[in-house]
């Protein structure tokens, strides 16, 4: 009886009695969720355009952040370092298209997937060789990202909002908005969607697959860079960030591999779900639910809606 009470009644009583704590938890979940959504967005972009599940997306986040900080440490001014890093991501996209994607065109998906594994380890090695393996501090201040916190006195308590979190949320939302406009209303956006729908038809109207792949990997690289800056500013820049990127998997399962809005909604559900779960139900099992709860949510989802919330339902004629 006690167990049932502590599962089904007590958490809600806590939420009711201390609404400021609830708001604080929701906010933290929201920010975490937005950042998961950013990582998932990188996966979705590449999956849609080239049908590749890019295992290297996580390491691209680390690699981009590491390049930025590494360049700064070597004496390059912050904003120049940012520009160079964007350039590096472009070169990376170009090289991947040339060396990995083009020779493997028309190969089964699993081959391309394995190739991105190789890419992951290449980038880990390259990053360590050039910038070293020690955790680094993100150059948030030099990039004029705000520091400190705002205390909001609401609901009879205090809710603390880190300014960097607010900035992260705003930047992420602006970027997601800009990307969806770009996809919807421009020639290249249209070409990207066309390639996602049918390679054959895209080729026949004169869309160059090679060019589109470079653009997509480049956009995914820039998304990775921004994600890296935000995550890095909240903790630090290290290879451990890669593991965080794996959280994008449950997000993708929830949202569907092919849906940009899905990535966002999925990210928010996972982010808020795991914070609320940790805070209110975590103590029941001794805490530390944050590392596995997301995967459980995803498993439950897989049973009922394998294509995800917004994924394309696959109906095949047999």
């Amino acid at each position: 009886m006690d167990i049932l009470y502590s599962i089904f009644v007590d958490p809600f009583m806590q939420m009711g009695s201390a609404p400021d704590l609830l708001v604080q938890t929701l906010w933290e979940g929201f920010v975490g969720g937005i950042l998961y959504a950013l990582i998932a967005l990188g996966f979705v972009l590449i999956f849609k355009a080239s049908g590749v599940f890019n295992f290297a997306q996580g390491i691209m986040v680390v690699f981009a952040a590491l390049t930025l900080v590494g360049l700064y440490e070597k004496g390059v001014p912050a904003f120049l370092a940012l520009a160079i890093t964007i350039g590096v991501m472009f070169v990376l996209a170009y090289a991947i298209e040339r060396v990995v994607l083009r020779p493997l065109v028309n190969q089964p998906d699993i081959i391309l997937f394995m190739a991105t594994f190789g890419l992951t380890y290449l980038l880990i090695g390259l990053g360590e060789a050039i910038f070293g393996g020690n955790p680094k501090v993100m150059i948030a201040e030099q990039l004029y990202l705000p520091k400190g916190a705002i205390d909001l006195k609401i609901l009879g308590g205090v809710v603390t909002l880190q300014k960097i979190d607010i900035a992260a949320a705003i930047i992420a939302l602006v970027m997601i908005g800009a990307l969806s406009l770009f996809f919807q209303y421009t020639r290249i956006g249209r070409a990207l969607r066309a390639v996602a729908d049918s390679h054959k038809a895209a080729l026949s109207v004169g869309i160059s697959l090679n060019q589109i792949w470079v653009i997509v990997w480049f956009i995914a690289g820039v998304v990775a860079l921004i994600t890296g800056i935000m995550w890095g500013a909240r903790s630090d820049v290290s290879f451990a960030l890669q593991v965080v990127a794996l959280k994008a998997l449950p997000v993708l399962i929830l949202g569907g591999f092919t849906s940009v809005p899905g990535a966002i909604v999925g990210g928010l559900i996972i982010g808020i779900g795991e914070k609320i779960g940790e805070f209110y139900w975590g103590p029941l099992v001794g805490g530390a639910t944050e590392s596995w709860l997301a995967y459980c949510i995803a498993l439950v989802f897989l049973m009922f809606r394998p294509q995800g919330l917004f994924g394309e339902r696959i109906i095949e004629r047999i």
Partner: protein, 272 residues
């Protein structure tokens, strides 16, 4: 009007000096041990409607795939607009003015009719990636200009009512029409149609015939089409080439082809 007159009498035009738009010479294509095309030669004249017919598996679609660069024949030459080409990619074919439709409609199913047709304008838009990123200035003017062109095509094909509908939801006949629209948006010199009337009912077929003839007459577009409906083929095409098991067995006007004994044998079967 004059132009229309001239083109509606292709026999006269071809009797003088027919300008060849595309020449296929001794093309051979095989997949492993399977010969899809052996030593096929024919030509397509400017502004004509050229039909490619033959029983199933005769190599008709393979022929189209060679022409627009999806396949690369092992032997033979393809000359388009006087230029011979080696291992051309579909992208280059599109750039040179070859558009096509597919046997099993290949549209961008998640996109609207208008967006699908706009993708046909891809090669005609030149503003750089960065203008598009901001969707501003010249990129915006360009967008409006091309949108206007696409609306004209939509008018022409009488699909105004489905302009904003995602094409995945449209019935098959309309999808085929949208696919034709996308190919037309490329303002092609050569339009390849792979079974434009397959799976259509009588009324839809009549509409499609009318569109094909109108495109040919109004814009002077050269059309090569594969079709199984013999009534349609004999009605609308100027010349017909017949393939069987990868070989060309006949080539000529519809009447000549109809009378050819090998063609009759190929279609009706013959005891050996």
């Amino acid at each position: 009007m004059n132009e229309t007159m001239v083109q509606s009498q292709p026999v006269v035009a071809s009797a003088s000096a027919p300008e060849k738009l595309l020449t296929v010479e001794n093309v051979t294509l095989s997949f492993g041990g399977v010969r899809a095309l052996s030593d096929v030669s024919f030509d397509i004249r400017k502004s004509e409607i050229r039909a490619i017919i033959g029983p199933n598996g005769a190599g008709k679609t393979s022929m189209l795939n060679c022409i627009n660069g999806f396949y690369h024949p092992q032997a033979g030459r393809i000359t388009f607009k006087g230029k011979m080409r080696q291992r051309m990619r579909p992208y280059d074919a599109a750039l040179q003015g070859i558009a096509r439709t597919f046997q099993n409609v290949a549209l961008f199913k998640g996109m609207t009719t208008l967006d699908n047709i706009l993708t046909g304008r891809t090669l005609k838009m030149h503003r750089s990636f960065f203008w598009h990123l901001f969707r501003h200035g010249p990129a915006m003017n360009e967008e409006i200009e091309h949108r206007k062109y696409c609306e004209e095509i939509i008018d022409f094909l009488e699909i105004e009512h489905i302009r904003k509908t995602p094409v995945g939801r449209l019935p098959y006949g309309l999808q085929k029409r949208v696919e034709l629209g996308r190919a037309l948006a490329m303002q092609p010199d050569l339009l390849l149609l792979d079974e434009p009337m397959a799976g259509m009912n009588l009324e839809e077929k009549e509409d499609m015939c009318r569109f094909i003839l109108d495109v040919n007459r109004q814009f002077g577009t050269t059309i090569a089409l594969i079709e199984h409906d013999m009534g349609v083929v004999m009605d609308i095409s100027d010349r017909v080439v017949v393939l069987e098991y990868g070989h060309k067995i006949a080539d000529g006007s519809p009447d000549e082809v109809k009378a050819d004994q090998r063609v009759i044998d190929a279609y009706l079967g013959v005891s050996h």
